[in-house]
Amino acid sequence: MSKKDLSTARAVLTDPQLWLPVAVLAIGIGVLALMK
């Protein structure tokens, strides 16, 4: 993994906007599990 890749990965993981859709996705999977 190059230095640039690491820097991109860090920028993605520390982007506060990322965790909002991730949390919503987790809620969706949780509701699906309940439906089953």
Partner: protein, 418 residues
């Protein structure tokens, strides 16, 4: 010749998206009942996957798509995430319809445009200026109109395990997921990515998640494979539906790029109007229903048209465009992109195309393989026992193609599909 404004272009894209997203439902309607909803969804998404690779390759070429992705590698994560959100939301709607019926489920998940509008305001500085009331009012009218249409055209719901509460929860969650899916969309376009590049990655998240959900919920890999084999006579129609859906979704992506989430998504959600036209005129769905149902349909349709009209006229003010620019610059700082280059792409220019012209031989092979797959599926397709009015089907297809040609030409002339 005067150039069309980016607002007008985005509005046209939103409206064209509505026509093609509705047309996507028509082939799936031809599928005879009896298959698992997961298999139907998987078949359609497989068609979507094929189209999502073929259309971008045909329009821009593989070198362009890979260069675009290489320039903004962080968006690969966002695109896969968006595909996953779509797939989980789509599966939730299957359960919502099962538990509470379409008339209750549809209005609930249709809140996705209001959710998207809220995220657009909160995260991307949309609606920060004069004219926001017209957009919010227009979106609310479209949701209200959709509720009336769904209620008027609904069929009886079936009793199902889990009860109504879980069905309502599923529908609301689907709306939340779809509304949130527009965060990655907007994220990609304020970074200057081409929608054609975005969807080629989006589809991996989409297909992978639908496949995983089918395996988990439908009895394992062997069971899913057996059902897919059994659905072979219907697979052509599902692939065709998937292809139409991709065209609609591409227009939706361009609308998001050029007018933002808050305006683009409510406009593409007017697909309910087109869906109504298909249902009533082609499949005779309102036949035998009383005057009340017709009155509801008329009121709901007028509400949606009024809402769409309000949004069409609500061009982003200078102060709102300055807010969009601030959001774009924030992305450039975080991900090390060149602001001038991104701004150029947001103006509808295509700096990458000037550097990455040229085609590769395998692009012909990709297109040929996709066509061959469709032809092979067509040879095994069987006539489905659904009554269809061919005159109205031809009229609606013709109108939908007019949308494709007009909007495609506008996009080509103004942006070269940037």
């Amino acid at each position: 010749m005067t150039r069309v404004s980016l607002h007008t272009l985005g509005v046209f894209c939103g409206l064209a998206a509505a026509s093609w997203l509705a047309a996507a439902e028509a082939p799936t309607k031809l599928v005879t009942a009896g298959f698992s909803p997961f298999v139907i969804s998987l078949g359609m998404v497989a068609g979507v996957f094929v189209a999502r690779w073929t259309v971008p390759v045909a329009l821009k070429g593989t070198a362009y798509v890979f260069a675009d992705l290489g320039e903004k590698p962080h968006l690969v994560v966002w695109a896969v995430l968006a595909g996953m959100l779509w797939a989980v939301a789509n599966t939730l709607t299957v359960f919502a319809i099962r538990n509470v019926g379409l008339s209750i489920a549809f209005p609930l998940w249709n809140i996705n445009s209001l959710v998207g509008l809220f995220w657009g305001w909160l995260l991307f500085n949309e609606l920060r200026g004069a004219g926001w009331a017209r957009v919010v009012g227009g979106a609310a009218a479209i949701v209200g109109g959709a509720c009336l249409l769904a209620y008027a055209t609904s069929q009886k719901s079936s009793g199902a395990p889990g009860g109504a509460a879980l069905g309502i929860a599923a529908a609301l969650t689907a709306g939340l997921l779809w509304g949130t899916m527009y965060i990655p969309y907007r994220k990609a376009y304020i970074s200057g990515m081409n929608p054609l590049s975005f969807v080629t990655v989006f589809t991996f998240g989409e297909l992978g998640t639908v496949w995983a959900l089918a395996v988990v919920f439908d009895g394992g890999v062997q069971s899913v494979m057996a059902e897919l084999g059994g659905a072979r006579p219907a697979m052509f129609w599902l692939f065709l539906g998937g292809f139409c859906w991709v065209l609609g979704d591409l227009f939706q992506n361009y609308a998001t790029k050029y007018v933002g989430i808050a305006r683009g998504i409510p406009l593409s959600n007017t697909n309910q109007l087109w869906g109504l036209a298909w249902g009533v005129l082609v499949f005779g769905e309102l036949a035998g229903q009383g005057a009340m149902a017709h009155a509801l349909v008329l009121t709901g349709s007028l509400l949606m048209v009024a809402g769409a009209g309000a949004i069409c006229m609500a061009q982003a003010s200078e102060s709102e465009q300055a807010s969009w620019k601030a959001a774009m610059e924030r992305e450039c700082v975080r991900y090390g992109m060149e602001p001038a280059r991104v701004a150029s792409s947001l103006r509808g220019e295509d700096p990458l195309a000037l550097e990455r012209a040229g085609r590769r031989w395998w692009e012909v092979a990709i297109a040929a393989a996709a066509v061959a797959l469709f032809v092979w599926l067509a040879t095994g397709a069987k006539h489905q026992a659904v009554a269809v009015n061919f005159f109205w089907m031809a009229v609606l297809f013709a109108l939908t193609f007019v949308c494709l040609i007009v909007c495609g030409l506008l996009l080509w002339r103004r942006t070269r599909f940037s």
